[in-house]
Amino acid sequence: MTTPNSRRSFIRKLGAGASAAVAAVASGKPVSAMADPAQRAAMLEEELKLRSLHQRFEQALDKGLHDEVIGMFADDARVVFNGGIFIGREHGVSRLYRDRFAAGKTGGRMEAAPGFELGADQQRDRVEVSPDCKTAQAEFPYSIQVGVPFETESSLAAMARLHGEGVRTWWEGGLYRLNYRRDAAGNWQISRLEYDTLSRADWRTGKRYAQPIEVVRFTAGYPQDVHGPDALA
């Protein structure tokens, strides 16, 4: 049986090594088929920058550095998460990461729950840079912990909060669908991020088995839900 470790490792290697060859421009023409070697080199260079940006994004999420994460988004960025759209770096995106993700211990990397690894047809890892190198699209797999604080006012929840817990967590796997664009200084920023969740399981590291779970999509927006989205998807 393929272990989660080897599967994830394979995905990363596939992405790093093969993407340059298969990356496509917005017109559909592969980078390798482009006539201008300088343009090809420029696009590949930007692709590497975007991969580096995504690596920093995942690392910051993993460490709970939410302000660093927020700083990677464009002013008018949108994040689609669990049926909600969080709009604007200083508003919706900040609310999502600084409030909701922090309170729910969400975003840290987790190996896929056993039996829930992404299938071969779901293993997307691609970056498409536009010919003018001003915009880009990308897909990367994710495998993260997601959670929500216990809503109860019970003493057990209050006590758990005192030792930094009181959060119901689970595992989610899927694809990050990303749009990037350059800011005025020429730095890449995330203009749109969609969490395309493909699988969820009631699993934590160390547990020997996992079961699928369902999660309620957002049904109310901010400010009715103080950590909720600006709009429903």
Partner: protein, 609 residues
């Protein structure tokens, strides 16, 4: 005279900084007292104690139990007391005028030292707006430093450290001054203790604690009664000889300053399992959690302490009744109409929350054991008499003989043991709002009700409960004349973990006949946060009990469970009130027997004869 004030209800004097300073002044020069003779291995010597991340303390000990301390260039002279236990020499002193002092343990063999800085009038603020509060000046604070005696040789690589070796152990101690205590070290951050010579009702209390490993037989310990009197107790314990030597420092319930050293002899009364991984040795204390918490790990004096009453909203009886009249619900169904409103769909979980709701995830299924039955429950000694006609799995009719009026209401029932019904319903039109939780043995006709209502002498939004015993009159059932269910102490000393869902587990420590503690686990399955409440136990059958507690001076919630120790399962009901109304709910859990302390022999009226 022993205290007989209910748990966490003592109105402690808010001693001011000046009042505390005046009382301390009387002992700063003399040092602590001791019923046992002081030892004298330090007299005439000098010690330089270097601590990691803490102060360097340079001591000169005179022959007359006086010492001179140089700390950070400042010099002070004070009285001190000293006791030895095996290789450990323990000494304690105050620093005049500073409302602080040191309790220091030095291992004369290894030269390693554990230093407790203790102080009063801390001014520490805790909680979050709008529930921020300042700790009482009388609450002793502590900061622990690990270090060594500087002998001119290279600093040792390994110092004393925190430990989980005491976790789950229980010891009965008798001190040289007559104080007798059952101490259950139920968590890495707390102690559950019953001071037998202090409280008339043998109530157990939880206090924040630290545990330090000096060597494989030697533990250094402290506890502070943060929400009790604020007093601080520390000692070194030799687990081979089961002996202790330490100090008590702080103000008791009579506002008297206690500052004395003590020796004690103990007996280990049990060791329950502790469930963290075998390679987890507890070196990370719980006041430094992995995730952000209200108590910052870096803050001096940081420690875990649950202080629920600080944020518990007070409601009067009238306010509670008004809220209950506006909304009383049983099992999610509004109460108040007698024609049985259809049960609404369960409230949808908020966006982002998993389905299904987890609060009752491990409960037993509801039973139809009573459906179609008509019976009368007659409780003893003028207790209530109620007739029942059970229409369905969720609806019944009852008539209380006090007003002889039939009412239809929502109920839920379990079959908690073979042919043993366990059901509950709201007593409608009651003021204060009340409910009954009934164990009905359909084999022998015995019945027990936990009669509950909103309100205590302290809070309108706390519950009060009492057990009433009686019989069931039903065709085909011949109830006994004299035999009844009865209160029991059979569970005293036992510990069970109860998993209400895969996310919520609490260990119950049934520490005395009238009180218990609950402990929750950290993510690493370490026994962590703990608190306590009064409780009662009723024996229904061998291995089958009712356990009832109200989280007094906490959140006022009542939980009443039928414990089936044969099946290691419980099932039951919750009853509580708030500004949102009054609610009767369900709860239940899968249990694991974590262990047993042999402590029942310390309790009961015969022991006081």
């Amino acid at each position: 005279m022993a205290m007989r004030i209910p748990m966490h209800r003592f109105a402690y004097t808010k001693l001011t900084r000046d009042q505390i300073g005046t009382r301390l002044k009387a002992v700063e020069g003399t040092g602590p007292k001791s019923a046992s003779a002081f030892s004298n291995v330090l007299g005439g010597k000098s010690l330089k104690i270097v601590t990691r991340d803490g102060p360097t303390l340079e001591y000169r000990f005179a022959a007359n139990r006086k010492l001179t301390l140089t700390e950070g260039g400042r010099q002070s002279t004070a009285g001190y007391g000293e006791l030895t236990l095996n290789d450990i020499v323990f000494f304690s002193h105050l620093i005049p005028g500073e409302q602080k002092g040191y309790n220091i343990y030095v291992d004369q063999k290894t030269n390693l030292a554990t230093v407790f800085e203790v102080w009063l009038s801390s001014g520490i603020r805790q909680g979050r707006a709008p529930n921020e509060y300042t700790l009482d000046d009388r609450e002793v604070q502590r900061q622990i430093y690990f270090g060594y005696v500087d002998t001119g040789k290279p600093a040792p690589a390994k110092l004393h450290d925190y430990t989980n070796r005491m976790t789950g152990k229980g010891i009965h101690w008798k001190q040289d001054n007559g104080i007798e205590t059952v101490e259950l070290y139920e968590s890495i951050a707390n102690t559950y203790f019953v001071e037998l010579t202090r409280h008339a009702d043998d109530l157990g209390f939880v206090s924040t604690s630290d545990y330090v490993l000096a060597d494989d037989r030697t533990i250094i310990y402290n506890r502070t009664e943060c929400e009790f009197s604020g007093i601080h107790t520390t000692f070194v314990c030799d687990l081979y000889g089961v002996k202790q030597a330490g100090a008590r420092f702080g103000f008791n319930e009579k506002d008297e300053l206690e500052y004395y050293l003590f020796r004690g002899d103990g007996n280990v009364v049990g060791q329950i399992a502790y469930l963290e991984n075998f390679d987890d040795h507890g070196v990370r204390p719980m006041f430094a959690p992995a995730a952000p918490a209200p108590v910052a790990s870096a803050a001096k004096g940081a420690r875990y302490s649950y202080r629920p009453v600080r944020t518990f909203t007070h409601m009067t009886d009238e306010e509670m009744q008004k809220a209950a009249d506006a909304r009383t619900a049983a099992f999610g169904v509004p109460v108040g109409t007698s024609n049985g409103p259809a049960a609404p769909a369960p409230a949808a979980a908020p966006g982002g929350a998993p389905l299904p709701p987890q609060s009752t995830g491990n409960n037993l299924p509801f039973s139809d054991i009573l459906v179609g039955r008509n019976f009368t429950l007659r409780y003893d000694h003028g207790g209530p008499v109620r007739d029942y006609r059970v229409k369905s799995k969720t609806r019944l009719e009852y008539r209380d003989h006090r007003d002889n009026k039939w009412r239809e209401t929502e109920y839920r029932a379990y079959e908690g043991d073979d042919n043993l019904a366990w059901f509950a319903h709201i007593l409608e039109d009651t003021s204060p709002r009340a409910c009954t939780m009934v164990a009905l043995d359909l084999t022998n006709g015995l019945v027990t009700s936990i009669e509950s209502h909103m309100g205590t002498p302290w809070y309108g939004n706390e519950t009060t409960y009492r057990p009433v015993f009686g019989v069931c009159e039903m065709e085909g059932l011949a109830a006994p004349m004299y035999v009844r269910h009865e209160l029991t102490d059979e569970l005293v000393g036992h510990c069970f973990s109860w998993s209400y869902s895969d996310q919520t587990t609490s260990m119950h420590v049934y520490g005395s006949p009238h009180s218990m503690s609950w402990v929750i686990f950290t993510g690493a399955q370490q026994m962590g946060a703990a608190w306590c409440s009064p409780c009662i136990f009723v024996k229904l059958r061998p291995g089958v009990y009712i356990f009832c507690q109200n989280e007094e001076a906490c959140n006022g919630n009542q939980m009443t469970e039928l414990l089936n120790t044969k099946a290691s399962h419980d099932c039951g009901f919750t009853f509580n009130g708030s500004a949102r109304g009054c609610n009767l709910g369900v709860t239940g859990a899968i249990g694991r027997h974590i262990g047993h302390f042999d402590i029942n022999r310390f309790y009961g009226p015969m022991r006081r004869a």
